[in-house]
């Protein structure tokens, strides 16, 4: 049985201007120890998918329907109190911007220790302190004891992200959701942090959902890839298949956008146009206005096709 199985999940936002279907019927699954990459442009619903796993959807948003089966239980049906016990304990999250994800007026040590103390009532302050120091060492933060007393402004961006990762790993979670964990970091630090996350998720035997707009990152780390567009998954399958043999025109476009070292082009490839607003989606396939293959057939949203072990939504792939 898969560790996590998401079935037909809908997370909608009820705004004054209308209903924004940020996540509109997505399904995927993750085995134990597996790494799933969710790729897509800004506003495709990747982050909302991640927050849905923790039940952390702010007003006016809501999980409208669907299932999130985690370890055999449906998280959508859980109460806020039950979810609180799961958050940071069985499912943990790493945020995009380390500059803003640590509380500026609480010491690193206190922020780490509370993650233990609220989940393990039997743990003493000393246990929590020792565990926190150990985990800081594990993520490669120099002078861990000294750092426990530091405040976030005294740390660099890369160090802060290490703290955030340490915080997520404190309770040895079964699933880690990383929302663009390297976007706000220097390129040199990015590789370190990605390698660290891959290593730690293997060591801790945790599954990982890696949310990113950077398909290069996904291709390095993941076992499976889901490509999201305008709130839906358009292509989903094994990494090798999707990176080396993309079928959906959108996935092809994303990979085409990457700069290649041995290539002397003046300009990089761009997918023409922008993603449609979630408030005014076109009839039929959401990608049709930017797709070079689109024709009449695309005026109806494509059905799911299962081709060679991958799932794809496109009329033009047969």
């Amino acid at each position: 049985m898969a560790l996590l199985e998401v079935n037909n999940l809908h997370t909608h936002f009820f705004t004054r201007n209308g209903i924004i279907k940020a996540v509109d019927g997505i399904s995927f699954s993750i085995e134990k120890g597996e790494i799933l990459g969710i790729v897509g442009e800004s506003g495709a619903g990747k982050s909302i998918t991640g927050f849905s796993m923790l039940g952390l959807i702010d007003q006016p948003g809501k999980i409208v329907s669907g299932e999130i089966i985690f370890n055999g239980v449906d998280l959508v049906k859980k109460s806020e109190k039950e979810l609180q016990k799961i958050r940071g304990n069985e499912i943990a999250m790493i945020f995009q911007d380390p500059q803003t994800s640590l509380n500026p007026v609480i010491s690193i040590g206190d922020q780490l220790m509370e993650a233990i103390l609220y989940h393990n009532k039997k743990a003493s302050k000393k246990d929590a302190y020792n565990a926190s120091v150990d985990i800081l060492k594990l993520v490669g933060l120099p002078a861990a004891e000294k750092r426990m007393k530091s405040y976030p402004h005294q740390l660099s961006g890369g160090m802060k992200q290490r703290v955030v990762i340490a915080m997520a790993l404190l309770n040895n979670p079964k699933l880690l959701v990383a929302d663009e964990p390297t976007t706000a970091l220097d390129v040199t630090i990015q590789a370190q942090i990605l390698y660290l996350m891959k290593k730690l998720s293997k060591d801790f035997d945790s599954s990982l959902i890696l949310i990113t707009h950077d398909i290069a990152v996904v291709s390095q780390l993941c076992d499976k890839i889901a490509v999201m567009y305008a709130g839906r998954i358009v292509e989903y399958g094994k990494k090798e298949d999707i990176i080396f043999n993309p079928k959906h025109p959108y996935t092809k476009g994303l990979i085409e956008c990457l700069p290649k070292l041995n290539d002397d082009k003046e300009r990089l490839y761009q997918i023409p146009g922008i993603m449609p607003s979630l408030l005014s989606l076109p009839e039929g396939c959401y990608f049709k206005d930017r797709c070079e293959f689109a024709d009449k057939e695309c005026d109806v949203y494509p059905d799911q096709q299962d081709i060679e072990g991958r799932r794809i939504f496109c009329h033009k792939v047969k």
């Binding site: 509380n103 007026v105 993650a115 405040y151």
Partner: protein, 316 residues
């Protein structure tokens, strides 16, 4: 830390010096008190004599120099009208003003912050809307109106509260006697309405902004209970700007109780300064403004030091 405090103290001294110059200069230019002090049938010789006796015949520079020398000895001059040391007169009136300001501020903070938090957690609930309606009214209604309406209702119509004076005073304050408390209620309420509304609204805005931050969401993602997030993670961040505002507002309260004191005939410094300005009683005006400035400077100094405890980013 010591260097920081010394630095702040030096700044404070500089501010005080500048204020003394400005105030002295304005009062010098404001007019000649001698004409007001002498009876209408006084001779020209009387005027000249009186001017010489008060030292007002000298040039501005000489007068200011003499003033500075006296200040360094702790002497701010004698009142032209009362003949007593100006500082003593101001200090004699200060407890009455202070008790109004302190009690009003205490109530505003104690009520304003919790209500602000409540209305920030669920901004669209009915309770929040009621709180916001009254806070909007509180911040908009002028002080003199609040004061007079209170007098109309509680003194004139219901006849339960006295409309003027300070009542029985025990140990510098009327807060320890029942009669004193009855006299305090309306002036304090008048002063507190605006401050409470202001603190409430600032708390709410601050909390709403902080609650949207990533670190609040991360705390929730760690499984920290909502109550702890609101009252520890968020409130600690909101308090930082709030401390500054409370400090400034307290200074304002002490300095601008004038209207309230006039309505309730409260024998504080506000009433003293109005009378002294009308009489061109320069020593009292200067002494009063210096004392008020000193309170402002002292509060700012305390706020600066408090900051280093609340906000690790300014720790030195």
């Amino acid at each position: 830390m010591t260097k920081y405090i010394l630095n702040r103290l030096f700044h404070s001294a500089l501010v005080m010096f500048t204020i003394s110059f400005i105030v002295f200069f304005i009062m010098f230019k404001a007019g000649d008190p001698v004409e007001l002090m002498l009876p209408p049938d006084a001779t020209q010789q009387d005027v000249v004599d009186m001017r010489a006796a008060l030292g007002l015949d000298k040039s501005f520079i000489v007068q200011y120099q003499k003033f500075l020398v006296n200040v360094s000895k702790g002497n701010l001059g004698n009142s032209f009208i009362y003949g007593q040391p100006a500082l003593d007169i101001v200090f004699e009136r200060m407890p009455a003003t202070m008790e109004l300001a302190v009690i009003a501020m205490f109530i505003s903070v104690l009520v304003g912050i919790p209500l602000g938090i409540i209305s920030s957690i669920k901004p669209n609930s009915i309770l929040s809307r009621i709180i916001m309606f009254f806070s909007l009214a509180g911040i908009s209604v002028p002080v003199f109106w609040t004061g007079m309406i209170l007098v109309l209702i509680f003194s004139v119509i219901l006849g339960v509260l006295p409309s003027s004076g300070r009542g029985e005073v025990y140990l510098f304050t009327s807060a320890f006697t029942w009669d004193g408390i009855k006299h305090l209620i309306m002036p304090v309420a008048t002063l507190a309405v605006f401050q409470l509304a202001l603190i409430l609204r600032l708390t709410r805005t601050g909390m709403m902004e902080v609650l949207m931050q990533d670190y609040i969401k991360l705390a929730a993602a760690k499984g920290v209970p909502r109550k702890v997030i609101v009252y520890y993670h968020a409130l600690k961040n909101t308090l930082i700007p709030l401390i500054t505002i409370i400090g400034i507002q307290f200074g304002q309260l002490v300095a601008f109780t004038i209207v309230t004191e006039t309505i309730f005939a409260w024998p504080g410094t506000g009433k003293l300064i109005i009378d002294s300005i009308q009489n061109l009683d320069r020593p009292i005006v200067v002494a009063y403004l210096l004392v008020i400035s000193f309170i402002f400077v002292a509060i700012n100094f305390v706020v600066d030091v408090l900051y280093t405890f609340v906000d690790p980013r300014v720790r030195v």
